[in-house]
């Protein structure tokens, strides 16, 4: 187990390094430059030159990359061109909202998805099954901004239950979490259904029936844990989509999280912020997937890491 951990942590670091190179290159390929953005259209040659030197943009790209990474390893992701705060400060300021949003939508998506999937599997080929799968399809297919607007229209505008936008405690995260979690719920429902159907046919379920187990015991004690093994993989992978979805959702609901930060940073060509955020999000996704892999051993005793 410990040698496995060392191996995994090593490959995780390599992955993050690869991501950093990609992020760096993509940012320098984006047209537009931050100097123009900061100084405006009427800047003099001299002031442009001066700012370039101050921001270190006069150096070659490999040199910029190495000095950036050297600082990054020490926990310094640079300073925002626009706000003047360090990128680490920016992230720390905004992470509570995105973390809550990710957590709530993950919990909402997983629970809804698993419940719907189990119902669909148990009631296979009935109207409940078809309804559940239709719902899942809508969840997967409907774009986040559309769901967001629909929910705002219904729950905020018509029913006046939740705030339309902005952040003011838990209530303002309910609609965004549902928006973000619906896609996850749809994918998880489909996976749970097919996985449950597969498990229900297994010999050990017949054994459990022959022991005198009732329906609920069969579903929850005997089938679900087996059926959840592939579902957990999916939940891990969904975390990446969740991060991407957070960008749209936070923008629509005007939540001051990492997603809306990245949107504004891109539009102002705030290179350090964009870079730092992308690197941070990539690292989070990699770590979450690592944790999911470790969770397997808890769900399936046949899996042992060496």
């Amino acid at each position: 187990m410990s040698s496995y951990l060392v191996k995994r942590i090593f490959t995780m670091m390599i992955t993050i390094l690869g991501v950093s190179v990609l992020v760096f290159m993509i940012i320098h390929l984006i047209p537009g430059n931050p100097i123009n953005h900061i100084l405006g259209d009427f800047a003099t040659e001299e002031s442009i030159r001066e700012l370039e030197i101050r921001l270190g943009l006069d150096r070659s790209i490999p040199v910029q990359y190495f000095s950036y990474m050297l600082n990054a390893i020490q926990g310094d992701l640079g300073t925002s061109y626009i706000t003047g705060y360090t990128v680490v400060e920016e992230i720390l300021n905004r992470i509570p909202i995105t973390a809550q949003l990710a957590l709530f939508s993950m919990v909402f998506g997983s629970i809804t998805g698993i419940v719907i999937g189990v119902i669909a599997a148990v009631k296979k080929n009935t109207i409940y099954d078809q309804l559940a799968m239709l719902l899942a399809l809508v969840g997967i297919s409907a774009p986040g901004f559309w769901i967001a607007l629909f929910l705002i229209l219904l729950f905020s505008y018509q029913l006046n239950i939740f705030p339309i936008s902005g952040y003011n405690g838990f209530y303002s995260l309910v609609l965004p979490s549902i928006t973000l979690g619906l896609g996850t719920a749809g994918s998880i429902a489909r996976m749970t259904r097919s996985s449950m159907l597969d498990v229900i046919k297994q010999d050990y379920i017949r054994t459990a029936k022959a022991k005198g187990a009732g329906v609920y015991r069969l579903i929850f004690r005997h089938s679900l844990q087996n059926a959840l093994i592939p579902v957990v993989t999916l939940i891990g992978m969904q975390f990446g989509y969740l991060m991407a979805g957070a960008v749209v959702t936070e923008t629509v609901f005007a939540l001051p999280g990492l997603g809306s930060l990245i949107v504004s940073a891109i539009s102002t060509r705030d290179i350090p912020t964009v870079q730092g955020l992308l690197l941070f999000m990539a690292a989070m996704i990699i770590i979450v997937n690592f944790v999911v892999d470790l969770l397997y051993t808890k769900l399936d005793p046949r899996i042992q890491y060496e």
């Binding site: 017949r206 054994t207 022959a210 022991k211 005198g212 187990a213 005997h222 399936d300 005793p301």
Partner: protein
């Protein structure tokens, strides 16, 4: 005086098939099992043995329909029982072991938990003493290091050990009837013998009746008191084990016995297999289903399916025995 424990009356089991409509898998099946008796149910794959076993427990798949029949167990027709009542019988008064020990145990639960569950379900143990009782049962089925095995997962055990665990689970509540569906088929020969021995020992101790389903005549000769031979969803012969092996009557039974090597036979004659294959279910609409593979088939066999004739203590479904016995 032995009393009747289970009586199957006029079982009709059919499956719904999208293409072929309704396919009849078991036709007019009746037999009984006495207390403490071992009845062997023999036949080739697809003859309806396993379906019969599953329908006694009412564990049959949803697309199967049970059109007729009574399952009288301890004097009550359990087909009329509610699902809840049935659950209290399964694993308790009637239990079952299956062919595949490798896949019949839940891979994510510990052995102790799986055996403890059946004790718990039927009130034979509570939370505090279930581990204790489980260990006791595991020891009884000959599992070494039972104290540590309770904390193992199925994948950590061999096939033979897993089948012992299945037997432990089946015998945990001291059932009246054990249905064993090909319990040794997936095991190698030495383990087979051990498992059969174990079943014999437990049967003597608890006076459990066993319905032993197998295609292996060797297993039958060792274990069964009485044998039922099935072909194409119906009983073709029924007799006590000695009579069946000494004087098989139905051409199918004779064929089965001839296709098994016999170490005592003096002339080293070749084995004679039964010609042809078992016809697919639903293909034969009239006449004796065995006629195409039978050397003795005559005109009447094509016209009419024979009833079960009683011939001394033996029952046989063949026109050859028409005049000799009375119809049952």
């Amino acid at each position: 005086m032995t009393s009747e424990l289970l009586k199957i009356e006029n079982f009709q089991i059919s499956f719904k098939d999208d293409e072929a409509g309704t396919i009849s898998a078991v036709k007019d099946l009746s037999f009984h099992i006495n207390e403490g008796e071992t009845v062997g149910l023999v036949g080739e794959s697809g003859c309806g043995k396993s379906v019969t076993a599953l329908s006694i427990m009412r564990l049959i798949e949803k697309n199967a329909s049970f059109t007729e029949g009574k399952t009288v167990f301890e004097g009550e027709d359990i087909n009329l029982f509610s699902e809840k009542e049935m659950q209290s019988i399964r694993g308790n008064k009637i239990s079952m072991i299956f062919q595949e020990p490798m896949t019949s145990l839940n891979p994510v639960h510990k052995i102790g938990k799986q055996i403890g569950e059946v004790l718990h379900l039927h009130g034979f143990a509570n939370k505090t003493n279930s581990i204790e009782k489980t260990i006791e049962i595991l020891k009884k089925v000959g599992i070494p290091r039972a104290e540590s095995i309770v904390n193992d997962y199925p994948h950590q055990l061999s096939g033979g050990m897993r089948q012992r665990v299945m037997i432990a689970m089946a015998m945990a509540c001291n059932p009246k009837l054990l249905i064993a569906d090909e319990p040794t088929t997936a095991l190698d020969v030495t383990i087979q013998a051990q498992i059969l021995d174990l079943m014999n020992i437990l049967q003597e101790e608890y006076n459990t009746a066993i319905l032993l389903i197998t295609h292996d005549l060797g297993v039958i000769s060792e274990m069964a008191d009485r044998v039922i031979v099935m072909y194409y969803g119906q009983i073709v012969e029924q007799a006590d084990v000695r009579t069946l092996f000494k004087q098989p009557k139905h051409p199918y039974t004779i064929g089965l016995l001839n296709s098994v090597p016999n170490i005592d036979s003096e002339n080293e004659s070749r084995l004679t297999p039964i010609d042809g294959n078992v016809p697919n279910l639903g293909v034969i609409k009239s006449g004796c289903p065995f006629r195409a593979r039978c050397q003795h088939a005559h005109a009447k066999c094509h016209e009419e399916n024979p009833p079960l004739f009683k011939h001394e203590s033996q029952y046989v479904r063949c026109w050859l025995y028409d005049e000799q016995g009375g119809i049952v």
